[in-house]
């Protein structure tokens, strides 16, 4: 059985990755699972300088999911390169660094410096975080803005560029096309869906930021639909995510057209979710006598 999948010339041993922001820099979860088993580790968003993030409460539970408004807290690129990247280099998995910024120049600064790091297989550009005021989603909700930043990043990037798309748009196909037209090597989706929770007993917002990003199994049908629409719209690979908890969930995304998948909020529910998803995909392939994982990609019929 061959579970390999290739994205922009980078071959992953299996299609299962970690969704940015749910897996720290990998270090936190390395005590709970063997990182060597993962197709790739996608890091928490990294910016050119340290970001303190939002006030607390930053997380809230909702039916079948959660809201978060972390605000992209991260230690900055220097600490990432000195501490987190060398840690990840010990493992036989691909490293995908998620990049965030407030301005185009911020993004470019990170992308340029990461160009010197040969252990970074790909870059994922976060233009879809709903929880920060500047940057991020400002680039991810209009086709012209997305095209512009993608184009600029591609001028400097040494590694393949994945644009991470927001679901908080009218037409996801148009957004994917804009990224492709600007030279993106792949797109990943969905980031979280903007939501809100109100504590009716205290008559207060559950999150200090008032709004937050919804993730978890509650969003999976929305994510499968958007991955399908994006995969129909572009020729570049699509990485699918949104509420994946099992191998069956992952297969749904593959059939919808994803070349790889990420596990996000469910890492919090069980640190072994990624491993269970990998084993679930293998069990599915065995059950249906599928030799190559690539035969599943976009294979939905009817």
């Amino acid at each position: 059985m061959n579970t390999q999948t290739t994205i922009a010339g980078v071959t992953l041993k299996n299609p299962v990755m970690t969704a940015s922001g749910t897996f720290g820099s990998g270090m936190e979860y390395s005590e709970y699972l063997d990182l060597n088993r993962l197709g790739a580790v996608v890091t928490k968003g990294v910016s050119n300088v340290p970001w303190p993030g939002n006030p607390t409460p930053r997380v809230a539970e909702v039916y079948g999911g959660m809201l978060n408004a972390i605000g992209l807290q991260n230690p900055g690129l220097d600490v990432f390169r000195k501490r987190d990247l060398p840690f990840l280099e010990q493992f036989d998995t691909k490293v995908i660094v998620n990049v965030c910024g407030k301005t185009v120049e911020d993004y470019v600064a990170v992308v340029e410096q990461l160009g010197e790091e040969t252990s970074v297989a790909m870059l994922e550009i976060n233009v879809s975080c709903p929880n920060v005021k500047e940057g991020a989603i400002a680039f991810g909700q209009k086709t012209e803005a997305l095209y512009g930043i993608t184009r600029e990043i591609k001028r400097y990037a040494k590694q393949p560029v994945i644009m991470k798309l927001s679901p908080n748009v009218t037409d996801i196909g148009e957004m994917a096309k804009a990224a492709e037209a600007a030279g993106a090597d792949a797109v990943s989706l969905i980031n979280t869906i903007t939501g809100m929770k109100i504590d009716i007993h205290r008559r207060r917002f559950a999150l200090a930021n008032r709004t937050g990003g919804l993730s978890g199994p509650a969003i999976k049908p929305v994510a499968v639909r958007m991955v399908y629409q994006a995969a129909q719209a572009v020729k570049i690979p699509v990485i699918g995510m949104g509420g994946i908890a099992t191998g069956e969930d992952a297969v749904e995304f593959l059939l919808a057209g994803a070349s790889a998948v990420s596990v996000g909020a469910m890492n919090f529910v069980d640190p072994l979710t990624t491993i269970k998803v990998i084993e679930g995909i293998e069990a599915y392939m065995e059950q249906y006598h599928i030799e190559n994982l690539s035969d599943l990609i976009g294979a939905v019929e009817g």
Partner: protein, 256 residues
Amino acid sequence: MKQKQTARVISQRELAPGILDMWLDTELAVQARPGQFLNLYTKDKSLLLPRPISICEVREDGRALRMVYRIVGKGTGEFSRYREGDPIEILGPLGNGFPYEKSVGKKVFLMGGGIGIPPMLELAKRLKAEKQIVLGYRNGDLFLGEDLEKYGRVFVATEDGSAGTKGNVMDAVRENGLEAELIYACGPLPMLRAVKAFAAERGIPAYISLEERMACGVGACLGCVVKTRAVHPHTNVNNARICTDGPVFEAGEVEI
């Protein structure tokens, strides 16, 4: 590798209205330090996230943990219905715990407010110090006081004055003219702010256990942070993760 384990409920009873006392059979108990917590997972899958609950007591043989918690919603409501032999998924022990070795031979306060009282029990058992245990409750529905009396002098405060000093734990300290060289505390934020101010005034260390809405419990999601006085070495910003850098912090290090 650490991973989620299935523990069995040994017993469960109500200590006071809405306060449950559950013993769990688990080999993880031997690793537990006072002030650490467990992530408890519900069977109801519409409730996604683990419930972080502090460890109240470790059984002498290191094979069982006592969890004393308040019913605050659906998740803890589900736990409250568990009976002897029921399985429950747990992860832990998590967090740093109280640095109880620091108090050898000293005169200390153990201060617990409401559902911050349970972690004081295992701490009291392990401390080799002169222990003054100050407990704050909303009303006369007291719990764990009798267990704690075995390990030190207990002082009680209630908000409505129905038992002990009327007011909070600091009122009980003042009324009884108590002094200490070191403080351990867990409770609501206003209480911990008062403890921090008291310790700063006296120039004594205070180790306080904080809580915050959490998702992962292992330091990955950055949901449960507290502002810190100095740049924290791990996060490289003025934030520490309550789940892994804490939940216990020296009061002077955090901005609460």
